[in-house]
């Protein structure tokens, strides 16, 4: 095992103010169980889980309350014991509504008190368990990518026939400003990450392992070096330069391994790589060794409008208002509340939204930390083109979408856009370029869906 500097540097990228010092020294703190949890059926990428309980039911911690609904889907388990008050549609952080279980955690069923200790799933010995058993365990535990996208992990670790995983890349970059959850996980749970890596290596058939960490986290690098010191096989810690968006899957693969993932619909597995967030890896270790499904995660609550920024270990379904209360409440009334980081996070309208398996951060920003984007004329300075990590002509795409020419935007490869926000960040005319790209992508996706539906209807005839 050795530590190396990243051999490749992708073109583009920006340097936002990171502001990580607000929360980086705060150790992971478990918050007391909130009185009410709102557990969404859609905490992952893909089809929402099918709700199995109804109002009035009592559920136990770890019980499956939403079953996997399709191939690209993940099951949902109750993050705490309690009584289901209602099952209704609730607003999620991205603005969509999904079915959610409103759980009263204080309520207990009448009769005998069942002891709540003991593992929820049967602990497995990864050394003797088969690959299929390990994958099944990951699926049962409801694990999805915890970095933000939420792709079902059991699907990712099971490449289709004909595709082999040559490199397992651990994403410890955490390039988003303010967020320090992954940093603390690496610092405090490095042995769990190591166990997770051993398990994943077995599932994937022994690929080389590259652990990607940005250079601004030296203590995390040391902790991971210590945990991985005596691991066998081709394992390297790759120190990445501090550059946003270093944590982007495609750019991480390029920076560590030098392979370029082709444009969509190609995926990392097409170049023999699987990228997984360090939090997900630790969750895999817990699911296999301890029989503990994914029920809680570390969320960084930060920003200059919150009294005490913290890295909170909270059950999935905790309301944002409870998180903020645990941090001492609001120091000043925030002008903006963001679920995620400042570059790719979602602005939300209320603190009544609850955490999911992918909520890495909650930011409360005061007015002076908020920028208003107004669409002024493009002065062709080219900063966005230089900043784009996907090497797109962002200025041309923005101008095309502004004049409703979605076809020109598609020709300029807007579907390759990863919506990282580097373009808007660097634009001196404060143009909302990322929003223009999103508009083009949504329009193109809608058109492709309509065409697909039309073709399916025609084929049926």
């Amino acid at each position: 095992m050795k530590t190396v500097k990243s051999p490749f540097k992708f073109s583009g990228g920006v340097h936002p103010d990171y502001n990580k010092e607000l929360a980086r020294e705060q150790p992971i703190e478990r918050m007391p169980l909130p009185a009410e949890l709102v557990i969404s059926m859609s905490q992952h990428l893909g089809a929402p889980a099918k709700c199995l309980v109804k109002a009035g039911d009592f559920v136990k911690r770890g019980q499956v309350v939403g079953e996997k609904n399709g191939f690209i889907s993940v099951c949902v388990r109750a993050s705490a014991s309690g009584k289901v008050k209602a099952v209704e549609k609730r607003l999620g952080p991205a603005g969509g509504k999904a079915d959610a279980i409103i759980l009263d955690t204080a309520a207990k069923p009448e009769g005998e008190q069942e002891p709540e200790n003991g593992p929820i799933l049967q602990p497995l010995d990864w050394k003797t368990a088969s690959r299929e058993d390990l994958l099944k365990r990951i699926e049962e535990a409801g694990i999805c990518g915890m970095g933000g996208a939420g792709f079902p992990t059991s699907v990712k670790l099971n490449p289709p026939p004909g595709k082999r995983c040559e490199y397992l890349v651990l994403n410890g970059a955490e390039c988003e400003p303010y967020l320090t959850a992954d940093y603390r996980v690496m610092l405090e749970k490095a042995p769990r990450i190591r166990l997770g890596v051993e398990i994943m290596r077995k599932i994937l058939g022994g690929p080389a392992v590259r652990i990607a960490i940005e250079a601004n986290k030296p203590e995390a690098i040391k902790a991971m070096e210590a945990a991985f010191a005596d691991i066998d096989g081709n394992v390297e810690i790759v120190v990445l330069p501090v550059l946003y968006p270093q944590g982007s899957e495609k750019h991480q693969i390029y920076a560590t391994v030098g392979r370029i993932v082709p444009e969509p619909p190609a995926l990392p597995i097409d170049v023999g790589c699987v990228v997984e967030n360090v939090g997900t890896v630790a969750a895999i270790a817990d699911a296999v060794e301890l029989g503990e499904p994914l029920l809680e995660r570390v969320t960084t609550v930060s920003g200059d409008a919150v009294a005490t920024p913290k890295n909170i270990l909270a059950p999935c379904g905790t309301k944002y208002s409870d998180l903020v209360a645990f941090c001492g409440g609001e120091k000043t009334p925030p002008a903006k509340v963001i679920s995620g980081g400042t570059m790719m996070g979602f602005a939300v309208s209320t603190l009544e939204i609850s955490t999911t398996k992918t909520t890495s951060g909650l930011l409360l920003l005061s007015p002076k930390r908020v920028t208003q984007y107004v669409s002024q004329a493009c002065i062709n300075c080219g900063r966005c083109v230089r900043a784009c990590p996907m090497c797109l002509n962002a200025a041309e795409i923005a101008k095309a979408v502004e004049s409703d020419d979605i076809k020109a935007a598609e020709d300029a490869h807007v579907m390759s856009c990863i919506e990282c926000g580097a373009c808007s960040f660097s634009c001196p005319a404060y143009r909302p370029i990322t929003q223009f790209c999103r508009r083009a992508k949504n329009s193109i996706r809608a058109r492709m869906a309509a065409e697909k539906a039309k073709a399916a209807a025609a084929a049926k005839k």
């Binding site: 603005g95 509504k97 929003q435």
Partner: protein
């Protein structure tokens, strides 16, 4: 001088011969009916029929691959003229106009955030679900107004309104609305329910002062369930335009004040 006249005349003669030959052997054969049908169509090129412009629809009609009554802008007169040219039966169509089924202006419906971004409803709806308290309601950023080929839609106080006099029923606004709250209704219908929120009454009241509460009074006052003038989607009343109500009194009796008699003129509601 004479030489000049002879030269020019012979050039003219040669050109005439060439053109005559070209007209006979190089001409593109086109069915003359295409030109006649195109002339009969309104010429708005709005695409409401689903074909690329009036010329595209004319070609499809002559080729027999298009239904007769697809031109909403031309209406009955146009369909009849086309039928006459093609020598087929005219399919009757009634003029339809667009109706924005929401009356929640900024003065009546709450907003839950300050939207900062591109002035477009689809983009605004994708940002935290929109800044309106009612997630089914009109956001008022003008996606429908921008796409209307006749400029029939205007935005006032955060709400879109269609002017029936200008609307040709092409349906572009229906497709572009992210909340799917614009509907093409018969132009002759006068009573409408201007709401799109199927939630329970108290839930609606929390976000809008003029939202439909599902009290069923409109149904009761127009002859009850048997009369069939209204259907209900959850707690949202919907006018049955195949069998519309005719008594204007039910508009005044609606407690939520979300019904309107012919709201397509600016003075409506």
């Amino acid at each position: 001088m004479t030489i000049a006249i002879i030269c020019i005349a012979s050039v003219g003669l040669v050109a005439a011969v060439v053109l005559a030959i070209a007209d006979k052997y190089l001409s593109v054969k086109e069915d003359p009916r295409i030109g006649m049908v195109t002339a009969a169509l309104p010429g708005a090129n709005c695409g409401g029929c689903g074909f690329p412009g009036c010329d595209g629809y004319a070609r499809a009609l002559v080729a027999g691959t298009a239904p007769n009554g697809a031109c909403a802008a031309g209406g009955e007169a146009c369909a009849a003229a086309i039928a006459k040219i093609l020598g087929v039966e005219a399919t009757a169509t009634e003029k339809r106009v667009a109706l924005v089924k929401c009356c929640g202006t900024r003065s009546e419906a709450i907003r839950v955030g300050d939207y900062n971004g591109i002035c477009d409803c689809n983009v605004a709806a994708a940002t935290a679900g929109g800044d309106k308290g009612c997630t089914y309601g009109c956001l008022g950023y003008g996606a429908c107004a921008n796409v209307c080929p006749k400029g029939a839609i205007s935005i006032s106080d955060g709400l879109a309104k269609v002017d029936k006099r200008l609307c040709i029923g092409c349906g572009k606004c229906v497709t572009v609305c992210p909340k799917k709250l614009i509907e093409l209704v018969p132009a002759s219908a006068t009573i409408h329910v201007l709401c799109n929120n199927p939630d329970k009454g108290p839930t609606v009241r929390k976000v809008c002062g003029v939202g439909c509460m599902g009290c069923h009074l409109c149904e009761k006052n127009s002859g009850g369930k048997e009369a069939g003038h209204f259907t209900f989607d959850g707690f949202l009343a919907k006018v049955n335009y195949a069998n519309p109500p005719t008594d204007a009194q039910i508009v005044a009796k609606c407690p939520a004040k979300c019904m309107s008699e012919d709201p397509h003129f600016e003075s409506g509601h």
